[in-house]
Symmetry: C2
Subunit: 520 residues, 2 copies
């Protein structure tokens, strides 16, 4: 049986090792000075004994391995701390509920014992979303992995009801026999859960249109310390403030999402992809804007800036690159692609005929659930990226991402300001999602780490980048959530924050649930 890494991303057998690590070292050493230190894969450290034991007869584990694995999320700063054995606030034990009653019991137990209860889906947070920080109190990780059933499929209405702990691949496996798919593929797809997607408002497969898990949910069941809430299952209702919108983005601070009805779709049979290059980045931005404002709704519309194009896609010409994809389960998408490429050419874009041919045979962004030999280079890189990140971390490279969204009017200035702010670290940018009113830029940052000082070094880079984002009209997060790492730059209006605090106080009066996220 495959084993999950306690300290880094994904499966242990997928970690970058041996020759691959040496090659990575040579590649990155060409543009970043490396200290030469290579951090070893760390054993599970010996943790302080639990302050609180699980009650008898529940599914729980209090040994060091699961406690260590549930201490941090999967951000760079989590990985580097794991590599260096810095586990300051491990949970005292991990509770694995199998039903709503067990969650209610865990909430009562936590309240009675003054413990914090951290809802834990796949644990892939990159913003400190599952890591307790704060005053000394017992901490329980509530691991939802046993609540992973598919409860109901409605092929007529194209919807499925699943439990919150189901992982992406399992969900797709259960939909495949019906010819259906959720088509929600965050980078964490393999290791993250429906409940986690909903609690953090995850961004998904589609670059335009229904981009966010919010758009794919019909109704939610959530367990709060004050009772279970369940919204009516209808396509759309205008009855009061939308109830699910209070839970979407609540990051485990208001309740635990136990099940949801999700909108699914027929698996696409018509797929086309293409790529175009722009010698001027500004022209690439203009073309991308016109495509998304045209209403063509590409499934994929990913503009890489010149540096991203070079480091992420092997471009050597200093050009920007726009990756396009169209898909449908009902009708050919040739006309849509042709019109999008016409827009590219109108803005000086040069269509990469070879990439377009390749894409036609499988797509540069092919379905990660089916894969296959025709899937392009980018998809491999996309899913492999977190493993490479871990390898780079071991080699002493600081490598991390952050993302935002802003209007088209403010993008150019934001892009320049962010790249300027993080220097001397190097930042590249791509659009993960685009809207008629603006893009969602995603930055990847590289810097040489100072051995032992990487966390502080990264935190300083991140602080400068975040401030540049806010100063230039961006939001602190488009789809990574707030967690604890973004708290200093999360600035809801005071009126809205007082409303959220009132909800928190009413639903979680003992403040047991994921204390500290969302500044709640």
């Amino acid at each position: 049986m495959r084993e999950r890494s306690w300290w880094g991303w994904g499966w242990t057998d997928q970690a970058v090792e041996g020759r691959e690590l040496a090659e990575l070292r040579a590649q990155v050493g060409a543009f970043l000075p490396l200290s030469g230190e290579v951090l070893p894969v760390p054993p599970v450290p010996a943790l302080a004994p639990p302050r609180l034991a699980p009650p008898p007869g529940v599914d729980a584990r209090a040994d060091d391995a699961p406690r260590a694995a549930h201490t941090h999320g999967k951000a760079y700063r989590d990985v580097i701390r794991n590599l260096r054995g810095e586990l300051t606030h491990p949970p005292d034990f991990v509770w694995y509920p199998r039903d709503v009653a067990a969650i209610e019991r865990a909430m009562e137990f936590a309240a009675r014992n003054g413990a914090a209860l951290i809802p834990y889906g796949g644990g892939t947070s990159v913003v400190g979303g599952v890591e307790y920080r704060g005053a000394d109190r017992p901490v329980i990780a509530l691991d939802m992995s046993r609540m992973d059933a598919t409860l109901e499929v409605d092929p007529t209405s194209l919807a499925v009801r699943v439990q919150g702990g189901i992982l992406g691949p399992a969900l797709e496996d259960r939909l495949r026999p019906y010819g259906l798919t959720l088509r929600h593929f965050p980078q964490s797809f393999e290791f993250s859960t429906v409940g986690g997607w909903l609690a953090t408002r995850a961004g998904g497969h589609f670059a335009t249109g229904d981009t966010r898990i919010d758009d794919l949910v019909e109704s939610i069941q959530i367990v709060t310390p004050s009772g279970v809430a369940e919204s009516e299952r209808v396509p759309s209702s205008g009855a009061g403030p939308a109830p699910d919108r209070l839970w979407l983005g609540s990051e485990g601070a208001l309740g635990v999402i136990t099940s949801a009805w999700l909108r699914v779709r027929r698996r696409p049979t018509f797929k086309l992809g293409a790529a175009a290059s722009f010698s001027s980045y500004q022209d690439g931005v203009l073309a991308t804007r016109e495509i998304v404002q045209s209403g063509l709704q590409p499934a994929n519309c990913r503009l890489l800036d010149p540096l991203e194009s070079m480091l992420g896609a092997g471009g050597v010409d200093g050009a920007s690159r726009l990756i396009l994809g169209f898909e449908s389960a009902d009708h050919p998408v040739d006309h849509a692609l042709a019109r999008a490429l016409e827009i590219c050419r109108d803005h000086g874009g040069v269509v990469d005929e070879e990439a377009t041919m390749r894409a036609a045979a499988g797509g540069p962004d092919a379905d990660p659930t089916t894969g296959g030999t025709t899937a392009g280079r980018w998809r491999e890189t996309f899913l492999r990226a977190p493993y490479l990140r871990d390898g780079l971390a071991r080699l002493g490279v600081i490598v991390e991402t952050f993302e935002t969204s802003c209007t088209w009017s403010s993008f150019e200035q934001l892009h320049a300001a962010v790249i300027d702010a993080v220097a001397p670290a190097v930042a590249t940018c791509r659009f993960t999602h685009v809207y008629p009113d603006g893009p969602a830029p995603y930055f990847t940052v590289y810097a040489s780490g100072r051995p032992g000082g990487e966390v502080e070094q990264w935190d300083a880079i991140k602080a400068r980048g975040s401030q540049a984002v806010l100063d230039n009209g961006g939001t602190i997060t488009h789809h990574h959530a707030v967690g604890r790492d973004h708290a200093p730059w999360y600035r809801p209006s005071p009126v809205h924050q007082s409303a959220l605090r009132a909800v928190k106080h009413t639903l979680d009066p003992h403040r047991i649930l994921n204390p500290g996220v969302l500044a709640l």
Copy 2:
């Protein structure tokens, strides 16, 4: 200068009178027995003197005409009560704020005087949304009509910032020089405001895709008794529960929406429409479902059941009728329409070639802001309907609408149950909006009124219809809001309701704002 009707819909000079009224009487008398009574257009009744006077120096009116006009919304039960002079809870005066400071002053004044403050946009609520009901206390109508400015246009990002009191036509007038449009055309378009649309989550022009004003808003400024909230203006953010979603659907109970950034689009230049008939209603439903699940995204996709087809569109063959429209500002829509009609034919639909030709020349659902001789019959009927409703009310006909949404799986049973439940009243049904997971059915009900007993008679019909909606998987409202009329069937989960009540208590501790809506 044209005058607004105090008792009924719209402009006084558009009311159904004289020969038109006689013709209407003959038409409807053919299928409904009429008492023969014709209620006269009522003068403004003499109201009880105000219990509270406006403070000196503010823009306010305390005479009977504006007080009477601000007593009710524009539902059938409002019109019939106005016709019969039954104005039980008129506001004591109407306050016309010109800025945020005036609204804050009105809130302080209301709190100090124990008054209820009813935010009033265009006053077109059909669910008792602007009518005070409850214990004896002073009531102030806060009429937003003076806050109707366009503050900023961002043609690059396709967005506009307007004040909450702006009416539909004024907004479109200000966008037209830029070649832009909001394309949000509720039936009340001419007389309703942006603030009202946002507060009630209005349904708009598009039958599929971005159907609701919720989808068109970037950020909201709202004045609450505890301060002013304003959300960041970005295309999309994943930072916590979406702040605007708390205000969308708050129906004036949490604050007054003073301005908003809205997403606009280029005015469509490619438009095609078509109609198809189905001898089996079930086949029409299947075809409609397949079209919306295909991802073709028609702007218009309105299935009329056989009776609606007869009464609303002059059909005499007992068939159901599907009205389709496609539009784009960027590219031809021929392929999309052709594929949709292919789906119709696959399900036994007969395409009405003549209507399709007519539609190509202007559309059965042409833009209500431009009109013109080519606009089809349906658009005229749509905008004329509320005036006809008032004429029918005067003739003793009960005529009213209600709407819901449900999954495709539950629609057939819901449709039958509602029509059965309202009998002996006659109900027709059309889809106003359709989603991949289900339609939004809109019912129109006709019955002979018992003179003097129409309100009770309608309330009984509505109660039976509403219960049938809830019993068969529908929501109590898709886009008419909850107000006070829907309160008995508005059933958020108790946990969600306690969260909303906590927000209400925090933001409006003196309970001055629109007390009674949303059961708050």
